[in-house]
């Protein structure tokens, strides 16, 4: 599989697939972990602790700060599984790791069929290390 590790780390949890990309800034509340974009189909959903499937990044570049703050507060997703790589999400997770030594692995799958297949699994374990990523179904 051609999955690319963007931010290293390990995580496990229930998977949650977003029907549309989400801007973390303006669309996500770091204090509650919930989606607050009123136009988003999953408005109100809580992302905390989830293996979050999101096709791509979106919106304001301040999303990196909101994600880093959510990681610090423990309200962030446990891992973010993208279809295509996103610079803003990568940065937010990298900085949280630098400042607080808390991992929120970020992976780009780069294959639509594979991304859809993984997103349909109820629980996953993510192990992302130097250049490679493993996503394993969990019971």
């Amino acid at each position: 599989m051609s999955a690319q590790c963007l931010v290293e780390g390990a995580a496990r949890g229930p998977s949650l697939k977003l029907d549309d990309p989400l801007s973390f800034w303006g669309g996500f509340d770091s204090s509650s972990g919930k989606v607050i974009d009123r136009f988003h189909p999953q408005h109100g959903a809580c992302l905390s602790g989830a293996i979050l499937f999101m096709e791509r990044g979106r919106g304001s570049s301040s999303g990196a700060s909101v994600l880093a703050e959510a990681i610090r507060l423990g309200t962030a997703p446990a891992a973010i599984i993208l279809l295509v790589e996103d610079a803003i999400i990568t940065t937010g997770a990298l900085v949280a790791q630098m400042l607080y030594q808390i991992d929120c692995p970020v992976v780009a799958i780069r294959n639509q069929t594979e991304w859809q297949r993984l997103a349909a699994l109820p629980r996953l374990e993510v192990t992302a290390g130097a250049g490679s990523a493993m996503l394993t179904p969990q019971p």
Binding site: Q4, L6, V7, P21, W25, G26, G27, S30, I36, D37, R38, F39, R56, G57, R58, G59, S60, S61, S62, G63, A64, S65, V66, A68, E69, I71, R72, L73, V84, E85, D86, A87, I88, T90, T91, G92, L94, V95, A96, M98, L99, Y100
Partner: protein
């Protein structure tokens, strides 16, 4: 990754500890996005001054402690408080203090105290082809599309890391082959629109580009002949609100799109949206959460920050004063200096306009009465304020917002 002698100097600490530390972030980021090398960076625009919690401040203080200095001209995006008119801030005092420290910490790193989301207007206009490390979604789109400079969608942190190292990863929109349009948004029946209507058409086209194109670059055809640089600014801001847009081509208007073939690089690109006057009216109507006739509590202009030419469009409309509700206009402190120097500021004050600098009414506590709807001519404000501020919003053209401010309810010019 091919590192140059300069890169090795930075990495091995010969340009200071802060540069070396920031370089590790630039390098990891560059590897994550698949860059093969780093480029010298002409300028940075840093979006780290909005306080999003302790992480914002912890990151900057890390480099203050390491005695960091930015290596290229670096402008700052808006902060949480108006440092020139601090009394306008009505939010939580501790939050205000943290936001103020965040702004000052950036100045200690050598950043320019611009505090604007539109540094390209009066302060630091990049040249065509310049390689930049810019953050703030509207500024990114404007630099790429309207100026023809080159930046990716850099975010908080990486923008400052590039500024502290003077290096930017060579990928994405830094490379010519990635700057061609892959989709067409065709505007029809609008060629002869008035300058006031052109503002709304630009916002509708921008929202459609964001929704339909994602990160595929759009070539927009058929925009009104009178579409101004301010309208293109509004278009880009709307597009970057509704989608992950970093660049568009407005055929016949923007520098890399003298014609459709130049915009697409001669490739076939599908028409993904056709927008006639009816579709445009529908898109703009969907931005309002209240019906026409609804009472207003304020009007919010200047998202992105108002330019001097926008003030010149606004000034004749002040003949409508007195207004029934407050009108807030966000702009940069450098624009405000010019307005103050030439007397335009006095005319705004006489008409009761509240000019807000260094920040923006949709990200911080400025507007005193949010009990009713707020009207705006900004697609970006309309898109985000209901979520950020929990407020109802009405969208209109600049002229609509002024006649509504006089009437105290949503009316159309």
């Amino acid at each position: 990754m091919d590192l140059t002698a300069t890169d090795h100097d930075i990495l091995e600490g010969r340009q200071g500890r802060a540069a070396a530390d920031a370089f590790t972030l630039v390098l990891k980021f560059a590897e994550a996005v698949g860059a093969q090398r780093l480029l010298p960076c002409a300028s940075a625009h840093v979006d780290g001054c909005l306080y999003h919690g302790e992480a914002s401040l912890d990151f900057v203080e890390r480099y203050v402690a390491l005695e960091g200095r930015v290596k290229v001209p670096t402008t700052l995006n808006v902060g949480s408080v108006d440092l020139i008119h601090p009394e306008l801030f009505i939010g939580d005092a501790a939050l205000g203090a943290a936001g103020k420290r965040l702004m000052q910490a950036h100045l200690e790193l050598g950043c320019t105290p611009s505090f604007t989301c539109a540094p390209y207007q009066t302060l630091l206009r990049p040249g065509f082809g310049d390689q930049l490390a810019w953050a703030e979604s509207n500024a990114i789109v404007f630099a790429n599309s309207v100026i023809g400079a080159r930046t990716n969608r850099y975010g908080d942190f990486i923008d400052l890391a590039c500024a502290l190292t003077g290096r930017v990863p060579d990928y994405g929109l830094h490379r010519s082959e990635n700057r061609r349009a892959g989709a067409i948004v065709a505007v029809t029946g609008c060629k002869d629109a008035s300058p006031d209507q052109a503002g709304g058409i630009a916002v509708a086209a921008g929202l459609a580009v964001g929704r339909e194109c994602g990160d595929t670059i759009a070539a927009i055809t058929g925009l009104p002949g009178c579409t101004s640089e301010d309208d293109l600014k509004a278009l880009g801001a709307a597009a970057a609100s509704s989608g992950s847009v970093a660049m568009f081509h407005a055929v016949g208007l923007t520098p890399e799109a003298p014609d459709l073939a130049a915009a697409t690089g001669g490739r076939q690109a599908p028409v993904v949206a056709r927008l006639g006057p009816e579709e445009i009216a529908g898109i703009l109507a969907s931005l309002s959460t209240v019906a026409d006739g609804t009472p207003l509590t304020a009007v919010a202009l200047g998202t992105p920050h108002f330019s001097l030419t926008e003030f010149d469009r606004l000034l004749p409309m002040l003949d409508l004063a007195p207004f029934s509700v407050p009108i807030y206009v966000n702009t940069g402190r450098h624009e405000w200096d010019r307005l103050s120097a030439d007397g335009r500021a006095g005319r705004l004050e006489a008409a009761g306009i509240t000019v807000v600098v260094d920040t923006c009414t949709y990200v911080t506590s400025i507007i005193r009465d949010l009990s009713g709807a707020v009207m705006t001519n900004s697609g970006k404000w309309a898109y985000y304020a209901p979520g950020n501020l929990g407020v109802d919003v009405a969208f209109g053209t600049l002229a609509d917002t002024l006649v509504s401010a006089r009437a105290g309810r949503v009316v159309r010019a």
